[in-house]
């Protein structure tokens, strides 16, 4: 090792990053994603507009037609909307990552002596907190509109855990999209064309039996259906275990497929 000037601030001469340092790097980068909200509160509004709009539109536009009354429909559709919003929100990870790559921030971070996983993990931690915010907003506004939780605090926490667990699995798909998409606009287009059909061909917004029979077969295996039913069960009562199990199987499958693909795309960049 050579010394050049007396002022070098070489913190570590180990060839690895310890786990504690890795956690600190992750938290610093999560802070970086969240601190923008502090001086740009519009960011928080961006996170909130879609939940509010969808909740109002679905309840008051479709409620009467689908369920005969807006309050009955809200009780059915809110869990579905929560799931849909969670899936769309996983794409913030992709958009943020793609922006970082395009702006060169990603390379800057990778040239620092920090844990290799920190840039991704930091984003995911921040995006998970945004998911919690959206969930709270749905429940709060839903309650104002007439939604009632029939289970209790453990049901609510269970629903949140189910959503966050699946969101974490989905964030690997999001990471892959972020790494391969040419720019953030392409991410939006890709995201829309994947998420829209998946969320709508489920029982998130309409009961399965109203659908054509060939579609019902897909709806019954669609993870969105099981997530929506799982969240329904956890918030308003009803069967839970089977839906959680199917959701978990989907989550594991997604992880098994997209973790290797993402890591390959990650390495292909360097």
């Amino acid at each position: 090792m050579t010394t050049l000037t007396g002022t070098t601030a070489v913190q570590t001469l180990h060839n690895r990053v310890g786990p504690a340092a890795g956690v600190r790097h992750t938290l610093t980068l999560a802070w970086r994603s969240l601190v923008q909200i502090k001086h740009n509160p519009m960011e928080l509004l961006d996170l909130s507009v879609q939940p509010i709009m969808f909740l109002l539109l679905f309840t008051y536009v479709f409620g009467g037609a689908i369920a005969g009354s807006t309050s009955d429909y809200l009780q059915f559709s809110l869990p579905g909307l929560v799931v849909q919003n969670m899936l769309f929100a996983t794409l913030t990870t992709a958009i943020g990552l793609s922006t970082d790559i395009n702006k060169g921030v990603f390379d800057r971070l990778r040239s620092l002596p920090i844990a290799r996983s920190a840039p991704l993990a930091g984003r995911i931690v921040a995006d998970t907190l945004k998911q919690v915010w959206a969930f709270a907003l749905f429940l709060g506004l839903g309650t104002v509109l007439g939604f009632r939780v029939h289970t209790g605090p453990f049901g609510v926490l269970g629903a949140l855990a189910l959503l966050l667990g699946f969101a974490l699995a989905m964030s690997w798909l999001s990471v892959l999209i972020g790494l391969v998409a040419a720019d953030p606009e392409k991410v939006q287009i890709m995201a829309f064309s994947i998420m829209m059909p998946i969320t709508f061909t489920s029982n998130a917004f309409v009961p399965t039996k109203t659908l054509p029979e060939w579609l019902q077969r897909w709806v019954e295996v669609n993870p969105v259906t099981h997530l929506a039913d799982g969240v329904r069960g956890l918030l308003t009562g009803g069967p839970v275990a089977n839906h959680v199990l199917v959701s978990a199987i989907w989550g594991v499958a997604i992880v098994l497929i997209f973790v290797p693909l993402s890591l390959r795309a990650f390495r292909a960049r360097g």
């Binding site: 090792m1 050579t2 000037t5 060169g104 040239s111």
Partner: protein
């Protein structure tokens, strides 16, 4: 002499194309190496390998004595990198951008703040430190980017086309900053498409073309490699240009280039100039202009590669605000 950066036979392939085709580089401690070459010559690829962002397909490189592949983490703790575009988080303020880097480099919160303030002051950004980086001009962003790469007091700094897309004033300012770093003893590897930039800043220059080093040396050495000097003759009467051409061809054995009413030729032996002048005088050709000068790096580049270094294409990125001259 100790070397801060050493590379031997670096190869990087992208499919069929060889972005780097066996590159050797050496940067002695405390010196500035200018890597000169057109777009696509492999400059950025070389920097990315040295900065541990890219694995080479062949060859090896060390920075500060550490292998860039096997000891990548150690290399990262010695280097600073400023890429082709300002790699700053636009949603964060100048202070937050620098504090973030400081915290990632394990400075305490107070130390990270102090270091950020120090750097913002040094780069004339103190007043803008509390504003989001997206409100900065192109030149300010570059300075913030450079400040970010200095938070960890790197021993080796990689500057990949740091002035591409900047207006002349911001460019000159950045040159001043780089000279200041040199004075601090930092080793710098700077890539550029601008011959003037290499000429102004670099102790040593290597010229890249198609993934190979095609020439290296000091600016003066490079200028001396091709024909050493350039003779230009502009006859008073444009009709005499043909005669000038014939005289030069006869005496030097080289055909001059005729353009814009003047003849230009590389000349290795300046003592032949008086003979050309006498001969023209005998023929009654009056020279309106006759000059002998060192060849510019541009001409060196042309002679080495057969094409000019600076692309005519507009390099400024449309997304970047240009600094408005005061």
């Amino acid at each position: 002499m100790r070397y801060a950066v050493q590379a031997e036979g670096l190869v990087k392939r992208y499919g069929e194309t060889r972005a780097l085709d066996g590159i050797d580089l050496e940067v002695p401690e405390g010196r500035l190496l200018g890597v000169l070459g057109p777009n696509g010559a492999g400059k950025t690829t070389a920097v990315r390998i040295l900065a541990t962002l890219l694995r080479p397909d062949g060859g090896r490189a060390t920075v500060g004595g550490f292998d860039v592949v096997r000891e990548a983490h150690r290399v990262r703790s010695l280097i600073g990198l400023t890429g082709q575009y300002a790699a700053v988080d636009e949603a964060l303020t100048g202070v937050e951008n620098l504090v973030m880097i400081g915290r990632l480099l394990e400075l305490t919160r107070a130390d990270a703040r102090r270091r950020a303030a120090e750097l913002l002051e040094r780069f004339d950004l103190a007043d803008a430190g509390g504003r989001a980086a997206k409100t900065y001009s192109g030149g300010m962003r570059r300075r913030l980017d450079l400040a970010a790469s200095l938070v960890g007091r790197p021993q080796v700094l990689f500057l990949d086309e740091p002035t591409t897309g900047l207006d002349p004033r911001s460019r000159t300012e950045l040159w001043g900053v780089v000279r200041g770093l040199m004075a601090d003893g930092v080793t710098v590897l700077l890539t550029t498409q601008y011959l003037q930039e290499a000429d102004e800043l670099a102790d040593d220059i290597v010229v890249f073309d198609h993934g190979r080093v095609i020439a290296s040396g000091t600016s003066d050495e490079l200028k001396a490699t091709t024909g050493a000097q350039v003779l230009q003759v502009r006859p008073m009467a444009e009709g005499h240009l043909g005669l000038v051409h014939d005289v030069i061809t006869e005496i030097l054995g080289d055909r001059p280039e005729l353009a814009g009413g003047q003849a230009t030729v590389n000349i290795k032996d300046p003592t032949l100039v008086p003979r050309i002048v006498r001969r023209l005088d005998d023929l009654g050709v009056v020279a309106a202009e006759l000059s002998l000068r060192k060849s510019s790096l541009d001409e060196v580049f042309l002679a080495l590669t057969g094409h000019r270094a600076e692309e005519p294409a507009d390099e400024s990125r449309s997304t970047e605000k240009q600094e408005v001259p005061a």
